[in-house]
């Protein structure tokens, strides 16, 4: 598994099971970036209530998340969210599409709940870019999404591109070094002919990029890094846009996943090396010549 999937597996499997066999249910689970879900059947076994808590909900609403959710889920979206959560969907198991393809597409769309909510600023930026393109100059609003405690995504549209900036913080020393290598690799990898069309990636440590330098609430310590993606119109043509949004949202998780995987890989190499060295050491062991020791009366001693 190289790429992380945009949909939530727990929602997908639970819905799939409940459609076949409805039963009462009350589960809480999470998704990346501190998103909390609660799936329950408060009224009847066939009426599922799916609620989501997302840290940056207010910002997302400001950038039009509600319209996107309305477009995706229509009447499923509840006007009043469950207490302690930001947004709720009600899924009636008796009114879901009957054919297997439609059904799995429906389940998948529900499983993409978080992705759709977080897609709002990106869609808005793509729209703004289209509007600015005709005027030929100018810049759109700088959108800030504080999706984690100390990290944020900044999205800005200008007349010829959309800039997406991630601020990243590595809690662990080792992670920071791995992260640095990775991010520099991103910059270098673009030189390969196969991925010339990929968006341009810039990485800076400590110094924020020019676009966001004027912001007051930036934290410029040694463990902060900024990754800038420059998306050109070819990356968000109507055909490409959904994929681009799904991937770019998961960038931070993708990065951390791969840092962890490379650590695991290093560990397995280390274990292998140790096992090899141990073999060498064992070969060097001298065979101890066993001499029989006897007492005066001629009896042998044995260890017990």
């Amino acid at each position: 598994m190289i790429l992380l999937e945009p949909h939530n597996v727990i929602i997908q499997t639970t819905l799939g099971e409940k459609i076949i066999k409805p039963s009462s249910l009350d589960v809480a689970f999470v998704d990346y970036d501190g998103v909390r879900f609660h799936l329950s059947t408060p009224q009847s076994k066939t009426l599922l209530l799916l609620s989501m808590h997302i840290r940056c909900w207010d910002e997302l609403v400001k950038y039009g998340a509600l319209e996107i959710l309305q477009r995706e889920y229509g009447s499923l979206l509840q006007p009043q969210a469950e207490p302690e959560y930001n947004v709720s969907l009600v899924i009636d198991l008796e009114q879901i599409p009957a054919s297997p393809e439609d059904r799995s597409a429906f389940i998948l769309s529900i499983a993409l709940f978080k992705r759709n909510a977080l897609a709002a600023p990106f869609e808005l930026a793509f729209k703004n870019q289209k509007a600015l393109e005709s005027s030929g100059s100018g810049q759109g609003e700088l959108m800030e999404i504080h999706y984690r405690d100390e990290e944020a995504i900044y999205v800005q549209a200008s007349h010829d591109r959309v800039t997406v900036i991630f601020s990243t913080i590595f809690a662990d020393e080792t992670d920071r070094i791995f992260g640095k290598v990775f991010l520099q690799e991103f910059v270098d990898a673009r030189r390969q002919p196969a991925i010339q069309n990929a968006p341009q990636v810039l990485y800076s440590n400590r110094d924020p990029p020019l676009e966001i330098r004027h912001l007051a609430n930036l934290r410029n310590t040694e463990d902060t890094g900024y990754v800038t993606f420059v998306l050109f119109p070819r990356h968000f043509t109507p055909a490409n846009a959904p994929g681009t949004i799904s991937h770019i949202q998961l960038f931070r998780d993708y990065l951390h996943y791969h840092i962890k995987c490379s650590k695991a890989y290093m560990h397995s190499r280390m274990r292998h090396r140790v096992a090899e060295f141990q073999k060498v050491l064992n070969r060097a062991k001298q065979e101890v010549a066993t001499t029989e020791r006897k007492t005066v009366t001629g009896r042998t001693m044995s260890t017990r």
Binding site: V27, V30, D253, A264, H267
Partner: protein, 451 residues
């Protein structure tokens, strides 16, 4: 950020049960769909993928991601036939065998299935009580105590979780203690105590584990080589003898026997009476099992008769199934408690907790309680007689607790304990790990009990 729910991981030889604290059921049973029946060999904590290369080759020119190309659980079984892929079982007999695979297994559970950022979560892992030594040489049978899961094992686990995944905090719990905690959900339990005897019966082996105030009395643990797999085999034998199996295609026979065991079996109170009842009114008690050939779709049905109550009877009268192992379960439980320190025995008799799928038979608890009570009373009477009827005991309370969550009792107990506020203070945190090192896992703190 508000604290996110801790993750409970119970990696067993058979299934891995993984989910978030506060829920009543695990979110994932990896490798098995909840409805499918799995038998030895087909259902394991599996990982499939090409073997880890022994030499990295020219590292500079190769920037591949081959080490990410693997599957776990059901997907591993589905991909097992792909060329270059093979099935690996990183856990054997309850012990982690291959750390490379295990690390990658966890990697994928966390990121693909749970979709959790490990840095934001506390983890509760379940440490198996003791690996079962299957082929114990006869000469060593006197020192029957198999080694407990060595602390080095826990240290390695902590190393992986803290260093690879940077988790916030880790708690390594003992299986039996979690099973005791799970019994608090029963309405018959009035005080939350961690003293009791756990009878844990899964697919392979049944353990009887005494626990005193959260600590396992290792010297008194006993294992019984009768568990789910044997019951299924016994059901199959009974059906074969009656000639029912002719209707069932050979490859489905074991599966059908498993279904019969799960759906129709119960524990009777008196075997002779039960036989009589069945003979008097066969139409009332005999059930019909309807199946479908897995390939051709041909329908077939079989009668389900005496095996309904005989199947779980092998716990109480093992001689009807096996000729090697002849001690009934109540006797074993009694022995275990008698081997424990005298001051906890009352607590152990009073709180006998069932856990695992093979203890789910109807009335299993009642029967065990009755048989055990008889044993205890007989001994008390004998001692009263021996003292010339001068001293009479006030009696020993025997109680067997069965509850709704028995099947995943260990996981559920973990979920219960991890949602207590004390959980966070009992965890080993990342800061402590950085300060002290993996050896902190040798310290084990119990919490949550009311006493």
């Amino acid at each position: 950020m508000s604290l996110l729910a801790p993750i409970i991981c119970d990696n067993g030889t058979g299934y891995s049960k993984i989910g978030f604290a506060g829920n009543s059921d695990p979110s994932f049973f990896l490798q098995c769909l909840p409805n499918c029946n799995c038998y030895s060999g087909t259902c394991f904590t599996v990982i499939s993928g090409p073997p880890v290369p022994s030499k990295p080759g020219q590292i500079a020119s190769k920037r591949g991601v081959e080490d990410l190309d693997f599957f776990i659980g059901d997907e591993a079984l589905a991909n097992a036939k792909t060329p270059g892929f093979g099935l690996n079982y990183p856990i054997r007999h309850g012990m982690i065998d291959n750390w490379d695979h295990m690390e990658r297994y966890w990697e994928q559970t966390i990121f693909k299935y749970l979709r959790a950022e490990p840095e934001d979560h506390y983890f509760l892992l379940v440490r198996p009580q003791s690996p079962v030594i299957v082929e114990a040489p006869l000469t060593q049978s006197l020192q029957t105590e198999p080694p407990l899961n060595p602390p080095e094992n826990r240290e390695q686990t902590a190393e992986i979780f803290f260093e690879s995944f940077n988790i916030k905090g880790l708690y390594i719990a003992v299986q039996a203690v979690l099973a005791l905690a799970a019994s608090w959900s029963s309405n018959r339990v009035t005080d939350r105590t961690l003293t009791g005897t756990v009878i844990d019966s899964g697919d392979g082996v049944t353990h009887v584990i005494p626990c005193a105030e959260g600590y396992v009395i290792g010297s008194a643990i006993k294992h019984i080589p009768i568990a789910g797999r044997d019951i299924t085999q016994f059901v199959l034998n009974l059906m074969r003898e009656r000639g029912e199996t002719t209707a069932i295609p050979p490859e489905d026979q074991l599966r059908v026997a498993g279904k019969v065991k799960e759906n129709y079996s119960y524990v009777c109170q008196d075997i002779v009476k039960e036989f009589r009842r069945f003979d008097a009114e066969p139409y009332k008690f005999f059930e019909r099992f309807e199946g479908e050939h897995s390939v051709t779709g041909r329908k077939y049905n079989v009668d389900v008769g005496y095996e309904r109550f005989l199947a779980p009877e092998i716990f109480f009268n093992p001689e009807i199934y096996s000729s090697d192992f002849l001690t009934p379960l109540p006797q074993i439980v009694d022995d275990v408690i008698q081997q424990s320190p005298i001051d906890v025995r009352r607590g152990l008799y009073k709180n006998i907790v069932l856990s695992g799928g093979s203890t789910m038979f109807q009335h299993f608890g009642n029967r065990l309680k009755r048989d055990l009570k008889q044993l205890v009373d007989r001994r008390l009477d004998a001692s009263a007689l021996a003292s010339g009827s001068a001293l009479k005991s006030s009696g020993v309370e025997v109680d067997v607790i069965s509850h709704k969550r028995q099947r995943y009792a260990v996981w559920f107990g973990g979920s219960l304990l991890a949602s207590l506020p004390e959980f966070y203070t009992s965890c080993h945190t990342k800061a402590q790990y950085d300060e002290i090192g993996p050896s902190i896992c040798r310290r084990y703190q119990i919490f949550g009990s009311a006493t």
